[in-house]
Structure formats: structure tokens, C-alpha cells
Amino acid sequence: MTKERNVSLTVPALPEYVDLVRLALYGIASKMKFSFEDIEDMKVAVSEACNNAVLHAYGGEDGKIEVQFLSEADELSITVRDFGRSFTLADNKESPSLHGKSIEEIQSGGLGLYLMQALMDRVEVQHEGGTKVVLTKKRMKSEETA
């Protein structure tokens, strides 16, 4: 029987608590022997998900963010949930990245989901009484002995 390796962390949906999520991620990912670079990637992706919960989910009301870390043999899945209002992403929205745009066209904002996708191996967004973002990163074979 494999032991359960699930860690969960619940914090208030406030800007000053997002670094606690990064600290926990750092502890867990180091334990799993992810590379420095992968850990930095995951830190950003997870923070983007948390920032969204802080900024968009609760419209200024109190709320919380629930983060679950699931360590498997060769990947780490991080689920970031809020219990606030949900949203739908416009399909026809132009790409939020700045590539190929002029200085007049670029805009601050809208990069969060784009970065999560660029930094993780898998990103799933579900809406069920709030927003649930599942971020997954595979660990390279070579990292095991790093």
C-alpha cells in the first residue's frame, strides 16, 4: 500500500498570504528533488493561480484559497481552489502575450493563465462553486539523482 502524500494548505485570499503557498511548494518540490528551474517555474504558475483567486474571485469580500499538493512518483499536481464567483474566458480573445505587438498595442494584464500554460506541463481549469485550477509538472528522469 502506498502512503498518502497529500499536503493541503488553506490561506486567506489576501496578497500577503501568497508567499506562504510558494514556501510550501518550495518545501514539497525540493523534497521531490525537482530542479531549481522547475521549482521556479512552478512557483510562478502557482502564484498566478493564487493571485487570480485574490484579485478576481471574491470581489473584495473575505474568502479563502485552498491549495492541494499531490506528489506522485514522477509528477507533482497542485490544485488551487477558490469558492468565489466563476468566469468564462472569451474564446475570441487575442493572445495575451506581447510577442509581435507594437508598444502601443501591448497591455498590462491578462498574462496569468498564459504563463501557467507556458510554465507547467498540464493546466486544467474547472468551475464548480468557484474556480479550480489544476497545475501539473512532470519530473525529468535526470532530476531524480540531481
Binding site: 510562478v44 502564484s47 508598444i103 501591448i106 498590462s108 498574462l111 498564459y114 504563463l115
Partner: protein, 106 residues
Amino acid sequence: MVTNKFTLRTENREGQTIVFVGGEFDLEVATQMRAAMEPLIELADRRLTLNLQDLKYIDSTGIGILISVVKARHARNAPFDVEHVPTHIRKLFDMTGITPFLAKAE
């Protein structure tokens, strides 16, 4: 155990203002950073430079603020650049596509 507290320090040189940004530049410090940059953006006759050598972390919040600065300086026809970008931060700049807007004539 050491976390990377956000640090902000401004240095005035001949015709240039250098802002040293260190530690974690995240949502928690966004307001502080915007407030610090606001008056400096207005000084259109001075070169404005961000030195990122001690920057440990940035995400779309910080990159969003950089984009605002880029646009505001451009609108004032005033020079802005970023120097000493650590490798893993550079990767995020490249990924989002902000790099060419931060170029420093080297």
C-alpha cells in the same frame, strides 16, 4: 530559512535614475512599487533604469507593472531600460514577450 523580502532602493546619477529592485516582486508589493515608480516616470529628461540583479521572483503582477512603465515612458518619449536581469527572470521576460521593450543599448 531565508525568504526573499522585497527591497527597493533608488540611486541618482548624472542624468539617470537607477531603481534597484530585489527579493520577491509580487502582488503583495505591487502598490508600493507603483507608488515608487510614479514620480520617477514623470522625469522625462532623465534616463530611468531598473537594476534587477537582486531580483529573486517576479510574476505577471510585476511584469504588468513593467509594461505600464514601458508605455508611460514611451508616451513621454523618455528613455527606460532594465539591466542585470537574472537568468530565470529573463526566461519569464522572453516567455511573455516583454524582452524587446526592456532592451538596453549595450
